[in-house]
Point group: C2
Chain length 458, copies 2
Amino acid sequence: MSENKIPYKIYLEESEMPKQWYNVRGDMKKKPAPLLNPGTLEPMTIDELSGVFCRELAAQELDDTTTYFDIPEEIRNFYKMYRPSPLVRAYCLEKKLDTPAHIYYKFEGNNTSGSHKLNSAIAQAYYAKKQGLKGVTTETGAGQWGTALSMACSYFDLDCQVYMVKVSYEQKPFRREVMRTYGAKVTPSPSMETEVGRRINEQFPGTTGSLGCAISEAVEAATTQEGYRYVLGSVLSQVLLHQSVIGLETKAALDKYGIKADTIIGCAGGGSNLGGLISPFVGEMLRGENNYEIIAVEPASCPSLTRGVYAYDFCDTGKVCPLAKMYTLGSGFIPSANHAGGLRYHGMSSVVSELYDQKLITARSVEQTSVFEAAETFARIEGILPAPESSHAIRVAIDEALKCKETGEEKNIVFGLTGTGYFDMVAYQKYNDREMNDYIPTDEELKKSISQMPKVDK
Amino acid sequence: MSENKIPYKIYLEESEMPKQWYNVRGDMKKKPAPLLNPGTLEPMTIDELSGVFCRELAAQELDDTTTYFDIPEEIRNFYKMYRPSPLVRAYCLEKKLDTPAHIYYKFEGNNTSGSHKLNSAIAQAYYAKKQGLKGVTTETGAGQWGTALSMACSYFDLDCQVYMVKVSYEQKPFRREVMRTYGAKVTPSPSMETEVGRRINEQFPGTTGSLGCAISEAVEAATTQEGYRYVLGSVLSQVLLHQSVIGLETKAALDKYGIKADTIIGCAGGGSNLGGLISPFVGEMLRGENNYEIIAVEPASCPSLTRGVYAYDFCDTGKVCPLAKMYTLGSGFIPSANHAGGLRYHGMSSVVSELYDQKLITARSVEQTSVFEAAETFARIEGILPAPESSHAIRVAIDEALKCKETGEEKNIVFGLTGTGYFDMVAYQKYNDREMNDYIPTDEELKKSISQMPKVDK
């Protein structure tokens, strides 16, 4: 094994790092449906979007024709501190599974935010700084995105205001402290600092908050303070654009060793990691150059692709954001309380949704105990304790590798390992104590939340 | 900056990784003093040591003449999963400090144990497996070593029993869960499972334990169970031997780009990281080939090198282990309760102690608020949240770089960044809340603990 030509970790040279992001929409003949103004049901204009987002990010959001965007040098320099990330050949896992498949994973967890979220956070902070803003606001649930944004804002000396769902703020004090160490102001949501927060606190005394409420507070804070804009860590097309750096590096690393991926697997919540990982591969499919089997993996407890509908819906629970056409369970859907990891978004990036609708990618849902089982196996044999989100992809990668064992196929399986689980030990504890169980929403439940969606005839 | 020939991160190729560990004792004319049997005050024999340690590790412990030891292929394969670790050029920190100095750091935190401890844990687990043992026992305080050992044992399918100081077990449940995820049995110490644990629980009802007590329990567990041995994560010469992989990689990476280090800085608790980082450089000094300024950095609250005495002392508070000649504050010394990070060992590796006594290395002590200030600066500008231990080295690296700013010297400063602080957020919270303060032991206190040391006339 030690004499193998492919090393355990393939690192690109600094000079081989991508200098441009890839916008897969540019190569799509049928484009994702546009964002709609919830009042007029007309496509959002750049002027409308620029009230909430930085102007350059709003432009990226709306641009579905340009295929490549230059990555500004300042962002490339930041990337160099933690990128290129390694593409790892999982020799030990292959041996353990006794599979003829070759398993590779792109590991995005080697930075303090612990996930791929930093790739877009630094871009969004950069454009905010360039526009001369004072700061940005955002919401965070578990804290991964909030941490990434805090790091990015600290680097560019921008004020960072994070509304953190109150229950997480109290139960995950360590995530909160990482953000504070990076100089962010972290406010438990609902707070008494915004109108919407005060109203919710009054209506529901003692509430521990929700992501929808935190979004509403962050948007209000952005639009009522001079020199602030709101930023978001997933779902949006601009985020997928920035995250294409994952896929571009993955493809460059495979090409360097003459490896052709057969199956590409990514976990999917809002779709930022999956979209970023697969975009250059999908691009080849769209241009008729190559073919891949692509699998989006979602939790059985929040199955937007596999059990949702493809329709216009609100992006947020608070219904203050534009409407997006996407696979969705209805913006009122909330995963069961026993769902331990992330990937709890009710919808899916409109780009990923459209690719799925065009059957360029497939989807599969997995239950959480089998996900943590895969996580434990992976941690013990590959030496990295994975995030629960990432472990969804591990589960399916292992399943596919075991299929190869049966068929004897030497497939090249590539999956995205989006992050580490160091701040998710409460979930691991549940698994270790055998207190974790599965929950799959009933058809009734889904029907109910889907029936409450806006009726948009587009 | 982007056109600079030296990349942000220097990675060796897999083929350039060290195939041998370097034993600096082999090049020392005056050797470190031998371990003594506490009963006879005669040097420990391999047979005596083999009752507690694996035989091959006992042999490494006693061998002060062999300069190179082959790294077994199984260990090299494990190393390939997280090594070579990057040598990072701290471009952003240099710019922030506006210093002409070039700052490099060897980052050992990119693995789930979060520190360099894994380098020796995997070696110790390997030799235990090779000897046909069932398992190993150890103690852990904060949990870094326990985590590393759990990972290593899981890889080689060895039973791993960790006695974790009770107060840590209760206050750091996440560290405990990482160990459990890797299959380790973690027992709060003092426990009711060992004779010494039961005795201490009886004598001191409600005690929250100490490292000394946990060591005693782990040693008892190793020597009373068939097929078990005790392992230790620092201080010992065998550990420094395994950790030489840090220094060897550092030197290879510097050589690759024709960089000559001027100043080498490492934090020092028991001495394993410092000893590993500096050993190949000290080797060159011992052989008269080169000269370096080497600085060991210790906490002002536990200043064994800067304020201790060089004499034989017990390695453990429980006084069950052999005597070692070292710089020590007395085995009864316990750092002030407000000391937040690790580096709380009362003594210092006998190898590092002897190098210090021969004036091949220097030492400096720093206070914890200034350490956390450096940690915060570093986290914000270099994007890695450092372990409190590692931040001692950051403090002095920044101080030295600022001196260069005054003198205009373009020194090459290299320091060891031993790990990440993701499980140390309680300490960061204290710092963020401005509740952290400093404590320096008085001369009286040190005099008292030093006066209680054994009187050995060697």
